[in-house]
Symmetry: C2
């Protein structure tokens, strides 16, 4: 299990996200936080490649390769509706527009993961589908008034008030929350078995 | 949204489950807890009917119909593998047998919901599919040593260390956790709109 594999390492989480921290705590993993200020520009590239590249860049930015017992873990989550990537809304009207666009539709959430140390990083990604309920304008306005949407990609949080609008998902729930736990476990188990970490 | 509809009521949660309490807190719903000691026998009946009946019985057992502002909320979660219902394991060897049976397979989680007051209750249920990873005997033993499986239906908790074994789900994640939030929201909105609560 994860906490058994990781007890030999100083785990560094390269993320300020309270959701990711909460999940590592749930997994009984001890960690330190080290955050970089690198930008994550959205481009026209494949979203999975972008998410993995962002995660890898976050990991590299905080790593101290001289520390051999260190294992850096980074993640980047992207919300995709059709061909459009929805980042964090930069205004109330953009949050309203995002939620209107998600209403009654299925969208994709992709999280890129990067794990590494000593200058060597491994990346992978997970992809889940999320089915949003039909939302009325009143529901959207009421949700935005709660302030929950403003700091979240796609303008919603599945682990908060937004949960009531989610009809269902297909895939890993924790991926939608921002950290694909089963993917992390399988990556780490494989790297450990192969002697790469 | 839920907290807007519910602010007119004294919500009573008829459940001792810390997971259900955590979800009501996440939804910013104020509640009291009132727990009954009624048994929940597993029978050969349709699991969805059983889950709804158990939830209704839990609600009725704690309700105080004289209190008109009271709204009792109860839930009962059943794990079904094929035609077999997996309850809480009653021994370590039964937990091991359950986890071995779930390994590499898809199973169903059904939660029955009951909402009501003044002697009148409304029930519904939600159904989700859960895909378990292939588990080795070592993984199963290590998981049982964590003590997490022993008080949970099906011998696992999706919101704990068990999360690393879940490849994915199809449906409502919160239903698997024990409280189907979107179903609760749609039920409550409908009952409220129809003037039934």
């Amino acid at each position: 299990m994860l906490h058994n594999i990781l007890e030999a390492f100083s785990v560094v989480l390269a993320s300020a996200s309270p959701r990711r921290q909460e999940l590592l705590q749930m997994l009984q993993i001890a960690y330190d936080i080290r955050i970089s200020e690198i930008a994550e520009p959205i481009t026209d590239d494949d979203p999975a490649i972008q998410a993995m590249n962002h995660a890898r860049n976050k990991a590299i930015a905080v790593a101290q390769p001289s520390n051999k017992s260190e294992l850096v873990v980074a993640a980047d989550t992207i919300v995709v509706l059709g061909k459009r990537i929805l980042g964090k809304p930069n205004s109330i009207s953009q949050a309203q527009e995002y939620l209107q666009a998600l209403s009654g539709k299925e969208h994709t959430v992709i999280t890129g993961l990067a794990i590494g140390n000593q200058g060597c990083y491994y990346s992978d990604y997970e992809c889940s589908l999320v089915q949003f309920a039909d939302l009325s304008t009143d529901e959207i306005i009421s949700y935005i008034e709660s302030k929950e949407p403003m700091d979240k990609a796609g303008a919603y949080g599945i682990q908060g008030l937004g949960s009531q609008f989610i009809r269902g998902i297909q895939g890993c729930y924790f991926n939608v929350m921002g950290f694909p736990i089963h993917k992390f476990y399988t990556m780490l188990s494989r790297l450990h078995k192969e002697g790469k970490i």
